[in-house]
Structures are given as C-alpha cells and as structure tokens.
Symmetry: C2
Subunit: 148 residues, 2 copies
DNA sequence: CAGTATCCCTCAAGATACTG
DNA sequence: CAGTATCTTGAGGGATACTG
C-alpha cells in the first residue's frame, strides 16, 4: 500500500480503491463498522490487531472520509467511529466479498455467518452487475472504455 | 495475509475472502484477467510488479481455483492464465470496487476508465444489495446472523 | 479507556541473474 | 518468452510500555 508507484495517480478506479482500502485490516475495520462496532477497544478486540496499527488505520479511514469521529453515545468522554455516507457506500464491496466467500471458500455444509434483511429475516439476493434497465451482464459482455 | 491467525478457520466470509485476495496485487491481477490479459509478460508489464511476486501470485490464484492454465491460443509453447468460473464470480467484487472508486476517489471531472456493456456501449448500473424480490436494502436494514 | 511512542522483526516486494 | 533462484531492503505489523 502507498507504493512508490503512487497509485493515486493511476487512472484505474479499481487500483485507486485498492490502494486505499486493499490491505489486510482496513476492510475488516469497515466490515466491523457495518456490524455496528464503534469504539476503539471493540475494534481491537474483535480484530485482534495491534493497537498502533488499528490507530493508524482508523486515522487513515477518517482522513479518507470513510469514517468520522463523533462524541460517544454513552456518557464516556471518548469518541466513536461511524461510517460516513462515503463509508456506507462501501456496502456493496463488503457484500460482494462476503457473498463470494460464502460460495467459494466454505465447504458444502460448513457453517458461516449470513447477511439477512432485518425486517424479513431473509438472506439478500446475490449481487450481480446489471445494465441500467435491469438486465444482468456477465464479465464477457462488458469492456473497459477509457475516458479522456 | 496468511497471518498466524489462520484466517481460513475464521467463520466470517469477508475475512476469509480477504485472506485470499486481499493483498496489494492479487485483485489487480484478477482485474487484468477480466480485461483479457492472459500471459505472464502482459500481466507483468501492465502491473509493473516484480516477476517473482507475479509468479507467486499466479500460482496462488491457480491453487485457489480462481485462474487456470491452458495452452496458449497462439502457436507459442507457453500457457495462458484464464479465469475459472470461480474466478469469474469475482466480477461483482471488482465492479463494486470500481464503482466505489469512480464515485469517491476521483475529482468531479477527473478522467477515468469506465465499464460499459459491449453491445450497447452504455455504462452499467450502480450495484446495490437487494432482497430476493428486488428491493434495494441499505446497510442499516441488514444484520449478520450466525449459523451453526 | 483510548490511544501514542518505541522497539523489533518478519515477510512482502524489488532487483537481478539465471534457465529451459 | 516464461518463468525460477537468490539477495537485499523497507515497510507493515506485533508486543509492550507509557500517557491523559
């Protein structure tokens, strides 16, 4: 991450995204944030990451506008880390990773957590790229076009 | 990656996915593969990655069943790396990363590549998690349920 | 509790030479 | 061309002590 290549100058959005969130911990922090984790110690305990690393990652995420700090909801004097709108926009990324992992990295009946809609308790549909008029498209039906 | 924590034993599909593909190069290799890159040198030149690293990543991806080797389509004696079905299933992950990057990591009119449907030339719709009956759901409307 | 400051160390990554 | 082998480096990350 933050390689000498200066990915931020790279025109590919995938590369630029990965440069920011494509390391070992960042997306796990974001995943925990989606699961409602808000406090330093809770992230630390859930992830088992070293505190200095967590500290640096949280700072990066705040700097990037993915998380924001706000006063703690309870009476404690500390702050909480919550997802911004930009952070919430990572939901499809996390869900896509989750769904792929569920399907391809677990044995047939191996137990794993599952993402469901609260209201109905039903699992979400499998995400798939679509055209604006709702047709599903496979990778071979698409291509990358360079803009100027 | 491949930490002492043995992520493969972790029940969270997101963590397990990231343990396999969540490093600096792997998803870029996959992205290139989606863009039609098939040969060692082409990956190497596009990515600017050291050859030994690329070699190791390709091997990992083949071992994981994401890429497969096949005889080169031209007359050369070498092999090509192509996405398996499991690899193609990563399309939503790459698209989600791309779309997030496009929206949040580029300035207003900063140029970037764009993913379009070949047939119509039109850009894809923004991916969003949905219920099985097609309603969009936000992160707050979902929760993770543990299965046994 | 919520971090920061140090120290240390492993491993990912780069460079390069070599081989079929 | 398509890799493998070897060496070196630097950053990412862990452990721990410290602070408000």
């Amino acid at each position: 991450m933050n390689s000498g290549k200066n990915m931020n100058a790279q025109p590919c959005p995938v590369a630029r995204s990965l440069d920011l969130i494509g390391d070992r911990w960042t997306l796990l922090v974001v995943r925990d944030a989606f699961d409602g984790v808000r406090r330093f110690s809770d992230f630390q305990r859930h992830l088992g990451v070293a505190r200095n690393i967590l500290s640096e990652r949280l700072r990066r995420l705040v700097d990037a506008g993915i998380l924001a700090t706000q006063p703690a909801s309870d009476s404690s004097a500390y702050q909480e880390y919550v997802l911004t709108e930009q952070g919430k926009a990572l939901f499809p990324v996390v869900v896509a990773l989750r769904q792929w992992g569920e399907r391809h990295l677990f044995a047939e009946h191996e137990p794993h957590s599952e993402l469901v809609e609260k209201r109905t308790g039903k699992p979400l549909a499998f995400m798939a790229p679509q055209t604006t008029d709702g047709r599903e498209v496979s990778a071979d039906e698409t291509e990358v076009r360079k803009l100027s």
